[in-house]
Amino acid sequence: MIRSFHDKMASLRDGILPTCIPAWRNYMNHWKVRNPRKDLSFEIGFTKAHREAVSTYTHPAQIELACLRAQYPAILMPIEENDVLAGRIQFGLVGYGIQGQTGGTGYYIDEPRVTEALEFQSGNAKYREDLHDLLTYWKSRNTYERVLRGTPSEIRAIIPTEQWKTQPVAASPIIRMAGAFIDFDKLVKLGIPGLRKEIAEALADCPNSGNDPVFYECLDGSLDVLVECCLAYRSFAQEEARKATTTKRKQEMEALSDACLAICSEAPSSLLQAIELCWIYGLMCPLIEFGRMDEYLGDLYVHDVDSHVITEDQALEMIQSLFHLIDSLDSETDGRVIVGGYGRRNPANADRFCLVACEACRTVREILPQFTLRFGKDTPPSVWDASMRCIGEGRTFPLLYNDEVLVPAVMQAFDVSRTLAETYMPLGCGEIEFNHYSFGSPNGSLGTLKILELAIHGGLDPVSGTYLSFKSPTLEECSTYEQFLELYKSHLAYFIEAQAKYEVYLYEAIGALHPFMMVSLLYDGCLSEGKGIFNGGCQYLAGTLELYGNVDAANSLAAIKSLVFEKKAMSAREMVAAIGNNFVGYERQRKSMMDVPKYGNDIAYTDAILLDLHNYLCEVTKEQAPKVGLKSYLCVNINNAQNTTLGRWVGASPDGRKSGMPLANANNPASGTDKNGLLSMLNSLVKLPHDNMAGMVQNLRFTSETWYGKDGKAQALVEDYFDRGGAQAMITVVGKKDLEQAIAHPEDYKDLIVRIGGLSARFVSLKKDVQQEIYDRTSY
């Protein structure tokens, strides 16, 4: 039976994988709206608007404004029955976005889904003609394709493809602009009128400044669209008020309607108005990071509660509804709500907001937002205790960031002042930027175990049978470990240099096409420069490079060093033959490789090898910034299930890992290899420095018996880990038995949330190999 497009989408939302949808489907972005649009009339209208815009204008800002007008408020969706806020949205299969999770990057098309609509949807002849037109029009015009085609050949020769999910790659570009943290505090303070005033002043000054007046005119035009969005949501609220069956609901919706109207012409003067303005503005960026929420909402929260404008319960309800809206964006990763830490304008009020936000985190049992606590010695015990309570209830949030370690580390890594370092913001899966000042989109990934595989085979990839790197001597041709290590490092540097160049190319390519006006308006420097954020407006343009496989590579280097060169227990040829055959017929050799000490057991031999590799990667990456013209270029060691996907294309490795098996999760030990217990694992974790990179995440998992047992000893251990230099921790409280049961009876465990790495997920919705990788991780 042919199922309708939206039936299939509904099935996906229910966590059931329909077999009729091709495996290449990206399952993110379901938007969680009750009555999604049933056809592609929006997409057809957007395409028409873009076509007209590019034939009328040449200025990217004018084209973008025309597209904003076509997209908003068309894609805004009605308020649903449990919402106390207005803010549902359904991005189109064609449209304007900033990264994959917002529909796509720049002007995008979801070609597989449009194709499916063409193949399965019914409609009249004109409609079907228009669907065909979508495909052909956007084939070469979508931003992703334009960026791909324009990649310089010298970069393309080294990193030839972005298809890292389906092909063995050593390194891969990631085309997106991820991590926009706009100045919400300024937005709340100035409101739309204040922003218009700033734009008007800058426009009036153009004859003196020499800046581009068209840019400012389009910024102002974007605010017109913002006002239309506020009024659209106002209409939805009025409709809900009319339909309300209780006095409470009617009053809520009337207050919401008034708030949406008020913010069109005034700066927010209530918590509700501030939330709505920030949310609606964010939808137009479009954003999936929500900044230091305690800072920009804290003052109005305290004002409203202390003045009895609203009760604490009403404030909590608003924040819960806001968290539900964030979850409805279904971005899978990102969705950061950051509270706590140094550098906040209003710590007292912000700390009060922290508590209500913690309670919202505890009670809104979704995988988003990624509630993040920055903490230090000034963090009130009440905030810490509320956070521990959330974690103990299995929320996987808040993610814990230790300012006492990270602020000095960020100063060192980025070479910035303490004041600037205090504005650090972890985005996405853990990359660090500065609030509304820097942009450091992670636009590349590096498979360090894959590169080791290449180094062993002299640049040849045994999985694909092709040379993915330059030709070099093989492991068998090396006479010392040091010689092999230098070769490996040279292969790493080869790809890191190319990735850095790619990062700059991507900013230039996308900056030329997209001013991202709503982001630029609230990013430091763009307004005064009169330029889009990636076109000269951003004051601190940076980049980050994601690393996968460091731990596995270090474990493998230890095996090579120990067995081949020190003990001479096996020849290099024998080791290469063993891994080449996936250890079939080489079980004894595999056992020897597995018995070499692994990172995560507080054994100096292997921990030192990882430390050396970590420092090398960090230093070489950092060196690229001045060469390519970025303010900084740093690596990150995070995870988002790429450890599983990338691992599929890496053959067996000298650490004893079998072919295709997952890589270690960030800088945690490889699954099952931490045999000396939790304390030894923590001792290993704290050996890696944080002052030469832009983010590293650590997963810890405890059973609830351990977490709650014995007068909080597990929590004391976590605090001690931070005191000793631990920078970050993501803590899951769940037992292996729960995971076993969830595998056997997923229907009973739909609410079970686990931490993958840089994101949390419903365990039962994960692919089987990811479930297995998570199950295999150690619980304490």
């Binding site: 595999r590 056992k591 004893g656 304390l679 000893k713 605090e719």
Partner: protein, 250 residues
């Protein structure tokens, strides 16, 4: 073996960090092999025999059969059962060489218990010293097993080399009085098992009479040593009014 040598090594089958249920605070528990009792409900029966023993984890076995030719004692055999090849293990033939363990890639075979010196145990537990005083608590080292009272000279030698550390002992109490007299100054807290009140039932379910155990308990109590009674509750075995009365009058 000389008395000196006895005091310097013992068969240990596990050293477990971050133990939360073996005394106050965060503890590192040293598990000694060998026990004079044979309690029906023992949850680590691998601790009973004093010598190292082979353990076979059948669920981890993939049937690669590499262990079969590796073992010269014939411990591992392949048999045909209902049309399937099965790996069976005759642990009684094992001499503890570890040859089969060297070739098993799946951790299906482990040797429970290895001879460790006092120095080796001290090196291992010293890594956890910083955790013992977390949040001002009195964590430390716990001796368990098996029955640690079979290893008093070893324990005395170890304690003398770790001044300032808190030591607990988990014991069944079945050891000569003299052993308790000797070890008492080394131990800050005894975690003392009280398994069964009736001597007849104690013999039936634990393998030995409890008279010596109760005498040692009285001795420790009268000497003023801190004691926590450990009361395993085994449904249908010792969940009787008589046993509870015995606990109450303890």
């Amino acid at each position: 073996m000389t008395e000196q040598a006895i005091s310097q090594c013992a068969t240990i089958f596990d050293i477990q960090s971050f133990s939360l249920h073996d005394g106050p605070g965060i503890r590192t528990t040293v598990f000694f092999k060998g026990c004079p009792l044979s309690c029906l409900w023992c949850h680590n029966p691998e601790s009973n025999a004093a010598r190292p023993q082979l353990m076979f984890h059948s669920k981890l076995c993939t049937g690669c059969m590499q262990c079969v030719p590796a073992c010269r004692q014939g411990v591992h055999q392949v048999i045909e059962h209902e049309g399937n090849r099965m790996h069976v293990v005759d642990a009684g033939l094992c001499i503890g060489s570890g040859d089969c363990i060297k070739v098993c890639c799946y951790d299906a075979l482990t040797l429970v218990g290895s001879l460790m010196t006092v120095d080796e145990v001290i090196d291992r537990v010293s890594k956890d010293l910083r955790y013992f005083a977390l949040k001002g608590d009195q964590g430390g080292v716990t001796f368990s097993g098996g029955e640690p009272m079979l290893h008093v000279p070893f324990i005395k030698a170890l304690v003398s080399r770790m001044p300032g550390v808190n030591f607990c002992m988990e014991t069944s109490g079945y050891a000569p009085r003299e052993s308790f007299e000797e070890v008492m100054p080394c131990i800050d807290l005894f975690l003392f098992d009280y398994k069964m009140t009736s001597p007849t039932l104690h013999t039936q379910f634990c393998g030995k009479d409890n008279a010596l155990i109760l005498e040692n308990l009285d001795y420790l109590h009268e000497s003023g040593k801190p004691i926590v009674l450990r009361l395993p509750l085994i449904p249908t075995i010792n969940d009787s009014a008589d046993h509870f009365d015995g606990i109450a009058s303890c």
